[in-house]
Symmetry: D2
Subunit: 305 residues, 4 copies
């Protein structure tokens, strides 16, 4: 079976490779063509590198997109691509975008007989590579059933949120908000500890070994302790984008969220102070600096940057 795949960035590439490893052949496209050729390099006979998005769309086939934002998804899934997919085609949209964008896309897709499935991914690139990502889905049941084997090859668990096109996007944005909130909470607690004589590794070590012993707290507490925020997995700038999208959903649905306002403001201040390129865990610097602490320790390999 052959799958179309557009978007071979930090997150898309390991996912494409997982599909190859699971036995799927691929037609791939990426704006920067080298990345597409890099994926094809290891499996030339099973990967076709297309010259345009239309080139990966097979009549009645399945197309996965892993793109950076709403605009990118909307412009890729244009009339030409949808016409090429045509009746029976399924587009699995795995980017972090607005639910309203998914709703609009579901309509434009339907006009071409294509089914739109939202399937955003929780997981940093390393997690995606290790098939440790979590995937949320929403869309028509039969299309979700059809693409299920593909999603199973990409993550350690699939959670479904029904048939409303944008539901999975709401869940993704909610989760990303909660993740940022956890970082801010840990940062404030750690700052309070340090200003009172308790090293942050001791405080966070205790908390993450006991009450908060889970992936997010474990992973991000390690980053807060190391404070080498120039080791970037996901930037402040992208995190700000996600908080902005979550705020738009909140505004559109009349949901007042002061904690979301707080973390969005932190990321915005980071970007305003030329820290947009730091890792999103660097949100913690806001709380540290408000307490007069200077945590950031550039990683050695980045010092020359």
């Amino acid at each position: 079976m052959t799958v179309g795949f557009i978007g071979l960035g930090n997150l898309g590439r390991p996912m494409a490779i997982n599909l190859l490893n699971a036995g799927f052949d691929l037609r791939v496209y990426n704006r920067t063509a080298e990345k597409a050729h890099a994926v094809a390099a290891g499996a030339a006979d099973r990967v076709v590198v297309a010259q345009s998005p239309v080139g990966v769309a097979m009549p009645g086939g399945i197309l996965l997109t892993v793109l950076s934002d709403d605009q990118a998804v909307t412009s890729v899934a244009d009339d030409a691509v949808l016409a090429a997919l045509g009746p029976g085609g399924v587009h699995v949209s795995m980017s972090t975008i607005l639910p309203a964008t998914s709703q609009r896309l579901a309509q434009t897709h339907a006009a071409h007989g294509v089914t739109y499935v939202a399937a955003p991914v929780f997981g940093r690139p390393e997690a995606a590579a290790a098939r440790k990502a979590w995937i949320c889905t929403s869309g028509p049941e039969d299309a979700k059933a059809r693409v299920r084997p593909i999603l199973d090859a990409l993550g350690q668990g699939i959670f479904d949120f029904g048939t409303s096109p944008g539901a999975a996007n709401v869940v993704k944005l909610s989760g990303n908000f909660l993740l940022a909130a956890a970082i801010e909470g840990m940062a404030e607690a750690a700052a309070l500890g340090e200003k009172n004589g308790i090293p942050r590794d001791a405080l966070l070590g205790f908390l993450t070994n006991t009450l908060f012993n889970c992936q997010i707290y474990n992973g991000y507490s390690q980053r807060l302790i190391a404070a080498d925020f120039d080791k970037v997995g996901f930037t402040n700038e992208l995190a700000l984008k996600d908080m902005r999208l979550a705020s738009e959903v909140a505004l559109a649905s009349a949901t007042a969220m002061p904690m979301l306002d707080l973390v969005r403001r932190r990321y915005l201040a980071a970007v305003a102070n030329d820290r947009g390129w730091l890792d999103a865990s660097g949100l913690a610097l806001g709380a540290a600096e408000d307490a007069g602490l200077r945590w950031f320790r550039p990683s050695r390999e980045e010092e020359g940057r």
Copy 2:
């Protein structure tokens, strides 16, 4: 070996029983005498019910206190009690109080030759009963070593934070803040979900099965979903007290904490609106009502209240 024990409230009582079960004899005191007699009832030969705090203090012995606030601890550990404990005595103070109170107490204790050990407890009464509590300690090393067997009988893990008298209190307040922050975060995320068509059990169920699979998120998400905040383990009023103490520490140490301000404000608004008696998980009602949602579902057994 006999241990003095003052404070047999919701949290103290199961702890006293754990000590009995572990083979320690007790001298107990409680302001409301019935609670002391209730503990003694099952083991009359091993429990002495004293008529006053002094009555539980044995020369050179060990005294545990599990009290509601700074004022209670300070008034119990008065000159008479400290004189009765005298040189070699150890007071293990397990209440959630200010680090500054611990520092002052350490000094007044030292004047009588008594050692003060802070050992606050993380755990609701059920957890304490099941020996699932976590205990943080700070104070002189030899005293901590001496009381270690007692603490081992009370919790599933002991974490030490050095010799500064108030250090463990800072950790306890930081942890309680982080817990409140987690509730607010989940409540905002769940409100966003519900306003966009996703039931909160679906959203929180996903998050707590994946990224946030830990005690605090699992336990409190269940309470948010049930929304029977009149089933009270720990009240909004007591949570407000803890946030107030954390704020005092933050103020005294020049640590600006906007997320702490937010959760403190939520509890304060709850108290202002006659909801001080609800469970502290009811913090979630603030986010729900700011979104126009009405979550509170009185539990059946409380409906006649």
Copy 3:
């Protein structure tokens, strides 16, 4: 001299009448035609009621628009209208819109030889009627000079902010934010007073007679004291729109504004709780209710509502 005028709502109507009083003849258009005829009623020989926006645009002439939002302005100033105005024409855009919208409009106008001038208005309808409004301008100098007599007939003062098309819009949004912030500040202070035994008319009366003796504080303190928020000049819903626009400008320019977040959140919670129709001074209810106070006193004439 004849002026084109589109938008005869609460604010536009008194402005149109002021122009008539100042000796300008008008060509008017309003989506709801009755409002246009109502303005014409008193001066039939000097007012032409057009059937479409194009009908008010005179070659090389001046067009004023007083519309509700960005979308309305953009759709009115379409190619047909701009072609009708043509070279030498000036469009004075007096609505509260995004600076980015003004920038885009300035470009589309220029393509038709039309000059775009932003001239948003500070003032409730009563103030506009009494020529007490304040007007901010930005745009090309010669166009501003040409329309100056018209603006002089509309307000008590004109303040210019240079040639960048959107500058005046930024000032307008900043001012509306500051106004909302003043309401929230007064509401919190008044709530603190009342919870401590001081009636809010006494507290606000003192402050507005001394340190805060200015239009905004005087006017809004009266509304807070009366608390008849169903007497509506400008709704919570419209205020939310303005805070949303201000937030978009803040986000686009990387300006972190926690006080703006706070007032936006208050308006959002009001809308979420079916209070979008109340007057924008009803922002105060948030602070009151967070303190357990119930201020809202429906005005007698509205009680049957």
Copy 4:
């Protein structure tokens, strides 16, 4: 008529001189004796410099205190001083302190037959010198009537808030909060303007000439524009103290105040970053720096500091 006066700091000194100018003789005390002698220098025959607080208390007389905080007032108005004032004596307490402190003091005073009047002052030292201060009063009516001529000599207006001892203190703290909130509001608006190309003198100049044309906005906008926050009238540290007191009143009276939380946090962050010594208008730096702006321009005379 002779008046006792304790506290000749930045604010007390010009007030004492105003009393001399109005014809009152003085008995003065100040912890740093030179300041007392400085006041006496110009009117040696009408000023007695006492060696202790007791030395200024005349049986049945009037004592004014202008001190830095609750602790200072409480320790000055001790049993010895109150016994010396004795029946018929009146203590006019003009410091910014907690209402609860006034309530306690009213009781200890009553035990000695002394009447306690709270009379806090709004006004920077320059304003006090120019008799431009505003004074709020609370306490027993007859005592307030008796001291009225003295207060008239000290300010441009007296506002009374009834007989509850602490009422005037609540008003004072509310006013100081509102002042800080106005600074934050202006700072955010000005930052938004500057990030969008509008100099802050243009934006604030417009607003303070129109909607916000009052003492606080005029005075503080000038300071924000000049940004010479090392010209200190009243420090960030003292402003933080006032916000802390306001927060304590809010907490004690169950009044949730998010805007107060915000300005308190700003001052706390300033103190945490070694800016406690800057002028309280320097609160504005928080908003500026969150937007990536660097406003602070040390005044020339302070550059060598």
